[in-house]
Symmetry: C2
Subunit: 554 residues, 2 copies
């Protein structure tokens, strides 16, 4: 049986998100909304990507001896430099990445792409790149939205992208301990398909689930839509193999916890290809849930929603808190219900009659082993919601979100065709600072778009809830200027400055890449960066691993 | 109101555990048991520690200029080298530490002890020690059982112990986010006393709670008796200040989680004074529970108990699992009930009548905000227990454990007076390997004691339960040989070899110190050790911080 968690789709198209066959157009009422709010309207003639053949690539600079050395490791057919392969590996899926490649700018493409077939081959490829002084860029699903997979050359003449798609073995599943060892190239649906026959799930479903890989999850310290329930990837990882120029770092003690010094595994998690290439991860898995429940509620204010979630997240010995908690601010609620068409309009009218003029929509999912317990949690949750003034909506609202939960990014491609900018950014902070941080970042985004003459829809949701705080995820939509990359980078800088000024983290689950690099020092301090550099120098003395990402230059 | 969590006792006596006023003697039926099992009997004339004045200390080697520099930082009265102060800081509370100091061997005492009054003073003391090339040994509660606070000099002529007892401020409590910032020198009961007026608790109660400090918890990556419910210290820490010769490493983003690269905070947690001195920790706290429940159950076998705990620990969305889970193997059950006297005998008879000839005793505690939910958990637990063949015992059995939960270590002093060796060690592994690891380590301990002609009582309990595995905590009691340190080190080596051979961790919550150093490389690999060294060199270029601990020599 295949469902939305095990269904695989084609690897992402070079000029946009995922499989174009899955793309959907924007309905006319959505365009009417955008016209009214930001002055954007559909173009009669779409602003389409250039033809694949017209993407301009850097002149190859890989030496013959380096190429021979790579071919000696993986075999000649697994060292590819055809035009399409290079273009497909020219970058990730950030808004700047997409704008550049659509316009034919392939300057971030590698010289060649290698496709090793085992952790041992990855280790040798890493060593070859270090010996030959070639930049090496690991590539999993290629869904980075922070510049993480651009083949930047740094101080080197050539760049090799190491695509992990052939590392799809499942070396071990221990159904007793509920631990699985997975090769890094397994994509989200492939992980679920491997675990399902054992009655297990990883429980990690980022929006990029259909394309992204387990290696990418670990490398970016990611969180999924159900991480409130199942935990972030850093809470799941028990072991890893990291291929580095200094040798293989293998951390695989069979222990649920340890006091054997600093947890070195936490240097692998979030290492973003700059400290090594993750070839294998050993992770905690969970019984595939045989009971689920859904709920949708509307809160009178953002503050009321925050208080309700906080109360539940801070309860001890009471897991009433849903596995998925997604609360949209008034603007996102308005946008979502407007885009939903007639049904959304009826819900807005109903909420107005119930006294909610600026409702805050919450989508909640529970999963578990026991139908009784899932129902207990749902009922306990309902009584807390009512106490905080929330109004219950049909559970089908949550079902609609769940059905579309992996398809959001396709809209960006559709909007780009009509010269509309759409991008996201995110942070996390403690409960006490959550609403002020939300307001400050939102206002910074709105102000910076307005300053450029492109008023924006700026909406936000809370999607990951912890005992001490929560995440904030912003989406912005505005008319694109002639240089939309420059337009966005200004906005992004203003938002990042606002985030850092509140003491929140520069990224809750998107990683550092190139895009957050200028703000990392504010978060971990100069000495923290020094520590990171010392680890980098130990594992990658020549500095070939993913230059320009994660580690601020000295 | 003062209870067992907020009650402070005197700082530990130099020759043993805690406050001698709290010490208790062994009843005659306990001695009868030891005589029968290991041939040990009480001495008519106790083998007491030497007089304080007779402890032999190293010749002081601190230069006048170094002393002047230290005095310039903290003031002359806070640089102390009187005999008693030096002896009190000569080591921790491992069995070898106690044997040595009782016999008058103060060779691990520092030249002076400094008592800085603020994080800023700690920072300057650290810098002075680096400039003057003096070994620096941080000292919190002094309860290390792995040699972590011995003032080893390494390649330096002199050693300074930095006692953090004056760092007892509480810079911030955020009752909304439930986050507290605590100075490192606060002892367990002081932390609880500071949080109690806010209706909060840390939920971290190791057996050393009455003496140990929050700085020590973080430095040793510790776990407490209730960590199954409240989480380990590494799960609680959100931020820290670390004084290092390279400057202060300050990690205090106000975020519940982050994807901003590797989590550098995880290098601070478990740093054992070898990478810096923790002066402040920001931790997640929890509402002080207003509902509690207790339970005691006997399982027919260790395997049945393991299966029952595993089932509960692996449930998703169901926190029936108790906050405290403590399951004793048949030997520990027999010893506990025998030492309990007549009541224990009656319980053993009752269990025999119920068909349990080698019962496995489980002690369980639940805590929470809601009496209803605590009771639900307790009842849900009971039905799982019955399904695994467990027999319910009076909850008073759990109450008896709870009342004595911080007093166990005093017995060691009493036994040492009668030349009986008593020591513990611990590990953790995955569920699938738990029983085989338990058996292998137990058998290695028994065999090595037997090989030395001193048959031992070797008992074990599981005390920390996770979704993927659990901890194993062994206690050994045997007649002491003429050189009990050598006797124990042989046993310890055999057990450590057995642990490493199974792939389990060399320490679940005691840290590395000196005692586990020889086995760290087996756990994290040569390259892992290289990474640790590179971090050490960056933060402590001269290598003055806690020489001989944590970081294996090159």
């Amino acid at each position: 049986m295949t469902d939305d968690l095990t269904r695989t789709i084609a690897r992402s198209v070079w000029h946009g998100w995922g499989d174009p066959a899955e793309r959907h157009t924007l309905p006319s009422h959505a365009w009417a909304f955008l016209e009214r709010e930001i002055g954007a309207s559909p173009l009669a003639s779409r602003d389409l990507p250039v033809a694949l053949a017209d993407v301009v690539l850097p002149e190859p600079a890989l030496t013959a001896s380096a190429r021979a050395a790579l071919e000696a490791v993986v075999g000649a057919p697994q060292v590819r430099d055809d035009h399409a392969t290079r273009v497909e590996h020219a970058g990730g899926k950030s808004f700047p990445d997409l704008v550049r490649i659509r316009r034919g700018d392939g300057s971030h493409a590698p010289d060649v792409v290698v496709f090793p077939g085992s952790p041992e081959e990855v280790q040798r490829v890493v060593e070859v790149c270090s010996e030959h002084e070639i930049a090496l860029v690991p590539f999993g699903g290629g869904t980075s939205v922070v510049g993480g997979v651009s083949a930047l050359r740094g101080r080197f003449a050539a760049a090799v992208t190491l695509d992990l798609r052939r590392l799809t073995a499942v070396p071990a599943i221990d159904p007793v301990s509920r631990v699985a060892t997975l090769q890094a190239g397994l994509r989200g649906p492939e992980v679920e398909a491997a675990l399902r026959p054992h009655g297990l799930t990883l429980g990690h479903y980022p929006q990029s689930h259909q394309e992204a890989t387990i290696g990418g999850y670990v490398a970016t310290r990611s969180a999924g839509q159900a991480s409130t329930g199942y935990g972030r990837v850093d809470e799941m990882v028990l072991g890893a193999r990291l291929a580095t120029p200094a040798g293989e770092l293998r951390l695989d003690a069979h222990a649920p916890a340890s006091a054997a010094g600093p947890r070195l595994l936490d240097l692998v998690v979030g290492s973003e290809g700059a400290l090594g290439v993750i070839t294998e991860a050993t992770v905690r898995v969970t019984a595939y849930p045989n009971a689920t429940a859904r709920g949708a509620w509307a809160f009178p204010t953002m503050a009321a929603a925050v208080e309700a979630l906080r109360e539940l997240a801070q309860r001890h010995g009471d897991d009433t808190l849903p596995d998925v908690c997604r609360v949209s601010d008034p603007r996102e609620t308005q946008v979502s219900l407007t885009l939903a068409g007639a049904i959304g309009g009826r819900l807005l009218s109903y909420l107005r009659r119930r006294g909610q003029t600026d409702p805050v929509l919450g989508i909640f999912l529970w999963e578990g082993d026991s139908r009784v317990r899932v129902e207990q949690r749902r009922l306990g949750f309902a009584s807390v919601m009512r106490r905080h003034g929330a109004v219950r909506l049909p559970a089908a609202v949550a079902g609609a979100w769940q059905r579309g939960r992996f398809s959001g990014p396709y809209l960006r491609d559709e909007l780009l065709d009509h010269r509309v900018l759409a991008e996201t950014l995110e942070t996390a902070t403690t409960w006490e600072r959550l609403v002020p941080t939300y307001e400050r970042v939102r206002d910074a985004l709105l102000a910076q778009f307005a300053a450029q003459g492109t008023p924006a829809v700026v909406q936000c949701h809370i999607s990951h809830v912890y005992a001490v705080g929560a995440s904030l995820y912003f989406t912005c939509v505005a008319r694109a200027l002639a240089d939309p990359v420059e337009q966005w980078l200004r906005v992004k800088a203003a938002a990042s400055d606002a985030i850092v000024s509140t003491g929140a983290t520069i990224t809750h689950h998107h990683a550092v890449g190139t895009d957050h690099l200028p703000w990392l020092t504010a978060e971990v301090g100069e000495l923290g960066v020094e520590v990171l550099r010392s680890v980098k120098v130990t594992l990658d003395p020549v500095g070939v691993l993913n230059p320009g990402k994660l580690v601020p230059p000295a």
